[in-house]
Structure formats: structure tokens, C-alpha cells
């Protein structure tokens, strides 16, 4: 299995305040990793390190065996949402096309290939029919799917999602997790989440993060006993989170 992400003894601090301490983690191709932990535990900081927006103070971090900055084109990122201007005049298709934009693409013209990739992304998440709608008019779940389509339009090998269900109701939440499970057949996924309950049945690795990180494999457990065993494993994680 190819290594998608590798962290070796990674630490990070803002000024003198240690945010992340000695993280070790390997994510392999096809994994579905959930990073959970309390607010302020360093989840967003970890994502920024992986995306190359921050540099670790100690340790090393590689994405597809490359420094994170150079691997950006291989990553599809879905930011935490809720901050979008409702009145922004932009169609869902235009939002998805943003995933195709590279820093040196000047002048307002996307190629046929860009459109094809955008439509592929929208079809994959079931919002192809919403292409011409104004983004601000979409429901919470449709917005989230459109943002996932935008990430997919970049044809990523790794999909990273920051709290993808934080602003949708629980029915939509389940839809989105099922969608991610479908996508996981083709692409490695790392997801930051605050709630473990729903996540449990879809993921194969859990990283519990609160300055320090503890990684659990859940894929080793057979499906028949998963609920039984998982309950105790959840408690164990919860316990270890209180570092």
C-alpha cells in the first residue's frame, strides 16, 4: 500500500504554546481516517500542516512522499462551512469550477476539460442538476455536496474534510457520510469531526487528538461484532482523550 500521509514526531507551537506534541501517523491508500477531539485540541492546526499552510516546529511530515506544499495539487479540500455570504452572486457550477483554478490561470476562461471535471464532480455527489442555481439559494446539504464536488473537480488522490457535517441536520449528515463511503472506494479520505457516533461505521482509522494523538484501527474488527466491540472502543478513546 502506498503511503498517502506520514507524520513522524511532528510538533507545532504558536509562540510558546504547544498545540501539537510528537504526532506519529501513517495514512495509506484507501484509508478513511477520522480525526476527532475537543475544540482547541489542534485538529485545524493539523489540517493546516497537512495542507502546507504551516510548518512543523519539530518532526517531519510528507504527503505522497512530497513536502506538503508540493502535494497541494493532489489534495481536494472541503473547508468547514457556514461563513459564506448568502447573497454572493455565484452559481453552483462556478463554485465547483473554482476547484480547477490554478494560480497561473489568467483571463476568464475555463477549458472544456475543466467543465468536464466540474460536471463529473457534481454528478459524483448528486448535484449535477443544481449547476445553474445560485449557491446561496441551496440548502445546507446541497451546499456541502457542492463544496465536496469542488474538491473532487481537482481530481484529488486525497480528500480532506473539515467538520463536513457541522451545519446540517442529522438526516443530511447521514447522507453525507454515505456519500463519503462511496467516494472512499476511489479516494483516500481524512475527515475532522467532532462527533464519533455516526462516524463509527464508515471509517477504518480513528485518530484522537488533544495535543497528543492516539490512533486506533477499526478496520481490523469484523462487521458482525463491530457495534458490540466499538462501544467499548469508543469509551477507551474518550478516556484517552482526556490527556
Amino acid at each position: 500500500m502506498a503511503k498517502v500521509l506520514e507524520l513522524q514526531g511532528v510538533s507545532f507551537a504558536y509562540d510558546r504554546r504547544l498545540i501539537l506534541e510528537d504526532l506519529n501517523l501513517v495514512v495509506e491508500e484507501g484509508d478513511f481516517l477520522a480525526v476527532i477531539g475537543p475544540n482547541g485540541g489542534g485538529k485545524t492546526t493539523l489540517l493546516r500542516l497537512i495542507l502546507g499552510c504551516l510548518e512543523p516546529v519539530r518532526g517531519s511530515l510528507s504527503v505522497f512522499n512530497l513536502p506538503p506544499r508540493k502535494a497541494r495539487h493532489l489534495i481536494g479540500y472541503v473547508p468547514q462551512f457556514g461563513e459564506f455570504n448568502k447573497d454572493f452572486p455565484v452559481s453552483a457550477l462556478e463554485v465547483v469550477l473554482m476547484g480547477r483554478l490554478l494560480p497561473d490561470n489568467l483571463f476568464p476562461k475555463y477549458s472544456a476539460e475543466d467543465y468536464a471535471a466540474a460536471y463529473d464532480g457534481m454528478s459524483a455527489v448528486g448535484v449535477r442538476n443544481l449547476a445553474d442555481y445560485r449557491f446561496g439559494e441551496l440548502s445546507g446539504g446541497q451546499k456541502q455536496r457542492t463544496l465536496i464536488a469542488r474538491a473532487l473537480a481537482a481530481k484529488p488522490a486525497l480528500l480532506i474534510l473539515d467538520e463536513p457535517t457541522s451545519s446540517v441536520d442529522s438526516r443530511v449528515e447521514q447522507d453525507i457520510y454515505e456519500l463519503l463511503t462511496q467516494l472512499n472506494k476511489k479516494v483516500t479520505i481524512i475527515m475532522v469531526s467532532h462527533d464519533l457516533g455516526f462516524v463509527s461505521s464508515y471509517i477504518n482509522k480513528v485518530a484522537c487528538l488533544n495535543r497528543k494523538m492516539v490512533v486506533h484501527n477499526t478496520g481490523e474488527i469484523s462487521k458482525e461484532v463491530i457495534s458490540e466491540l466499538y462501544r467499548s472502543s469508543v469509551e477507551m478513546i474518550t478516556h484517552q482523550c482526556q490527556l
Binding site: 452572486p89 452559481s91 483571463f107 476568464p108
Partner: protein, 279 residues
């Protein structure tokens, strides 16, 4: 109206005023759209008022005030851009400081200049009827720069305005693009000062785009409609002010403001009817 048309063919200064209206509506339609969607009206106000400082100094030194305006506008745009990126927590205080200090510097230098300062009022409230041919050439040139830059970076600006964090993660030079956008605003402010004066600049920068935003589904449509609306506001304002012998800048702004209120009302009414239809 006929009176105005007769004057239009008779007097060069009215023709210049119409051309100046055309050039400024293009600038305020395009750049104003960014101001409205990115919600940076306050920054634009800061730049507009800081410009008075540069104009005052230029006036004192005997240089063309328009030149002082361009330099100060660009300088304050870069400064406010850096503040937004490096010291965001103090941003509104710094904008307020720049706003007030710029005006104070302008007023002091104007009062130091010997002679009677008839121009101060025209800086503050503008006078579209006093636009000369050399000024028109400068306005045309500034418009051209704005059009070229927006055409080149249209998609980049869209992404930065819509989702700055995502733009950064895609490796876009967000800092550069943001400061470039503020510089475009600075140029637009300079153009608009000639038409409505710096106190009323914010109105022309935001009102046409805000009305247009209610009816547009994408950014380029919003720019086009805002340009047309800006032109209508300016022309109607010009005609009304000419006929009633009112100050042109203030009349233009009153008309723009009235249309904005009207459009908001219509929009609310439309949404209300839509909801009732559904039930």
C-alpha cells in the same frame, strides 16, 4: 429634459460631464461589485478620505491635485491591505485613524496654501460640470487599467472574494490579489472624486452594485448591470440638478439612494409574494 439636450449640444462642459459620467459608471460598476460582495465598504471609505490628505499636499506644492490623489490612494490601499493581512484585530481602528488623519492633513495643507480655497468644496462634493478634457483623458486611462486588471484576474478575484481560505490552499497569491483589488478601488475612488467628491464616493461605489446584486446570478452580470445603473443614476442626477439648479454630486447620490431603497422594497415584496404563492 429638452432644455438639457439643447445645452448638451451647445456647451462643451455638458458633453464632458456626460463622458465623465460614462467613464465613472464603468469604474463604479466593475469595482463597486467587488466592494459589495467582499464587504469592504469601510476600507473604501478610508481610502477615499485619506486621499484628501494627498490632494491637500499636492495643492500646497502647486502640483496637480489629481496626481496627489492617485499617489495617496494607492499608498493607503497598500497600507490597508497589509493591515488586513498582518494586524487584522486592529483593522477598523486603523481605517478610522487613516480616514480622519487623511482629512485633517488635507485641510491643514489647504489652509496653509495662500489664496482663496474655492477648490476644497469641489474635492469634498465634486463637480461633474467642471471636468476638463485633460481630466477626461486621465479618467479614460484609469478605466483602461481597471478593465485590463479585472479581465486578467477575473477568476482569481472571484475565488478570493468568495472563499479566501480555499484560495490560499489552492496556492493562489491571496495577499497580492487582495492588495491589487484595493488598488483598483483606490483608482476608482480617484475617478469618482471628480464626479461626486470624496464624501459621496462611497455612495456611487456601493449603491449601483448593491441594486444590481439583488437581480444578478453571477459576478459579470452584476458588473454589467451595475455599470448601466450607475450611468442612469449619474445622467438622471445631472439632468435634475441642471433643471433645478442643485449641486450635481448630491443630486446623483440622492437618486442612487432612492433607487436602492426602492429596489430593496421591491425585492422584499417579490419574496413575500413568492412565499404566499407557495402556501
Amino acid at each position: 429634459m429638452t432644455e438639457f439636450l439643447v445645452a448638451l449640444f451647445k456647451y462643451g462642459f455638458i458633453q464632458n460631464a456626460v463622458l465623465a459620467g460614462l467613464l465613472s459608471s464603468l469604474a463604479c460598476g466593475i469595482v463597486g461589485t467587488y466592494v459589495v460582495v467582499k464587504r469592504i465598504t469601510f476600507i473604501s471609505g478610508g481610502i477615499a478620505h485619506a486621499v484628501l490628505g494627498g490632494m491637500g499636499v499636492a495643492y500646497y506644492l502647486g502640483v496637480d491635485p489629481l496626481r496627489g490623489a492617485v499617489v495617496t490612494a494607492i499608498l493607503s490601499a497598500v497600507l490597508l491591505g497589509l493591515v488586513n493581512l498582518k494586524a487584522k484585530q486592529h483593522e477598523d481602528t486603523i481605517i478610522g485613524a487613516l480616514w480622519a488623519v487623511g482629512m485633517a492633513v488635507g485641510i491643514i495643507f489647504m489652509s496653509l496654501t495662500p489664496g482663496y480655497n474655492v477648490d476644497l468644496m469641489s474635492f469634498l462634493f465634486g463637480n461633474i460640470l467642471m471636468v476638463t478634457s485633460p481630466v477626461l483623458r486621465v479618467l479614460f486611462f484609469l478605466d483602461l487599467i481597471i478593465l485590463l486588471v479585472v479581465a486578467t484576474f477575473y477568476r482569481q478575484f472571484l475565488l478570493v472574494c468568495f472563499d479566501e481560505e480555499y484560495a490560499r490552499l489552492r496556492g493562489l497569491p491571496v495577499e497580492f490579489l487582495y492588495i491589487l483589488l484595493l488598488c483598483l478601488i483606490a483608482l476608482t475612488v480617484v475617478i469618482l472624486i471628480k464626479v461626486v467628491g470624496l464624501i459621496l464616493v462611497i455612495a456611487l461605489l456601493t449603491l449601483p452594485a448593491a441594486v444590481s446584486g439583488l437581480f444578478s446570478h453571477n459576478l459579470s452580470h452584476m458588473m454589467g448591470l451595475a455599470t448601466v445603473l450607475g450611468l442612469i443614476f449619474i445622467m438622471v442626477g445631472l439632468v435634475v440638478s441642471y433643471n433645478l439648479n442643485l449641486p450635481s454630486g448630491a443630486t446623483i447620490v440622492i437618486i442612487a439612494g432612492g433607487c436602492y431603497l426602492g429596489a430593496l422594497g421591491l425585492n422584499k415584496l417579490y419574496l413575500f409574494m413568492l412565499r404566499r404563492k407557495k402556501h
